[in-house]
Symmetry: C2
Subunit: 240 residues, 2 copies
Amino acid sequence: MKTEDLRYEADGLAMIGQLTWDETAGGPRPGVLVFPEAFGLGEHAMEKAERLTRELGYAALACDLHGERKVISDLAQVMPLLGPLRSDAAKVRARTGNALAALAARPQVDAARIAAIGFCFGGTMSFELALSGADIRAAVGFHSGLAVTSPGDAKEIKGKVMALLGADDPGIPPDQRAAFEATMREGGVDWQMTLYGGVVHSYTNKEADKLGRPEFARYDAAADRRSWKQMSDLFAEVMA
Amino acid sequence: MKTEDLRYEADGLAMIGQLTWDETAGGPRPGVLVFPEAFGLGEHAMEKAERLTRELGYAALACDLHGERKVISDLAQVMPLLGPLRSDAAKVRARTGNALAALAARPQVDAARIAAIGFCFGGTMSFELALSGADIRAAVGFHSGLAVTSPGDAKEIKGKVMALLGADDPGIPPDQRAAFEATMREGGVDWQMTLYGGVVHSYTNKEADKLGRPEFARYDAAADRRSWKQMSDLFAEVMA
């Protein structure tokens, strides 16, 4: 597996993503964008991107979020940075769309077969990319917030949408799920949502336990494994 | 693949199920109960049982519902027969529990590794079997009603629960999903629920289109394939 930094500009920021691909496989292969949790691009999203390459053979771009690959561990510092991305479609679409352009331009990648995944706010970003009408095969969110900037754009979605949620995630309450469901329905989207019982936020991330708030964020091995399988099954369907 | 009729008594009825198994595989293998749609045991559930044997190697019992393998095609005749099963835990548990006992007693079957699936009201029956405290590894419902006789018994559930639903199924509205979710949560169950967007009732059944009520019941090839995969993934997890 090869790994290199991939620099691109997005929303006025100097982004440093990490691209991984299997150099032993010939020809352009499908690509996957991986949007990290709200803290920024760290080990968690890079590991997921590496798994996409190692296990499934895709080229994967772990995307920068805050520029210069900054990781901000203090949630109080992160929240003000997310605000504009939650309300301004143009801003979040610049960050996701430029990541897509950077990945699609790589010779290792088949630009016609790209999907996006993301974790926490990164999952929301994958949905935002889909809402922009981008030419992606699928958008998958793991413990992803479902409040999007422009629900009225759901009819622009070209790929399939999958939300993989802890049923007890305090950050994604039932009314948010219901609103997302209505959005997808009105847009005529091919969408799926899975709820994992007894599971809360950040269930894919072993580091979550260090927060010390298990009622809010907690690693869950079964949900981690099951959600990865569901994503893999969807990719098998759409990347062919 | 071998097929034979399996007769058992349940709730005062003479049941004629259909057992399938792979006679070329040695030793007791996992078993799966397949509960049919409300009309009774017909081709649809028998085909699913055969697939469980052919594709996954399980012994499978397609279960009779109305006795003597009666199929009742008129919904107006079926509904009065379901009424007592929807309200009387003892009745529905007799029908499901005796099917389980009949399957578990077969020498081809490893009685410690049995799961139940069902379609429409048959999915509800698989959940009822789980609620009875039966020793099953999993209960999976496809377009299954979620209203159960004894939600307070959820703490008795020993296996994992999976509900695979059309998001637009008029028979399984959001408030029924919410009640099921609360039931599972209170019982501390390992449960999952997947919603398939744009999908209604009977999505696994090609015969559904003959009803001529596509807003209520309609075959959906994608949801059929995806839900089968999810069930298979769960079985791979629990039958090991």
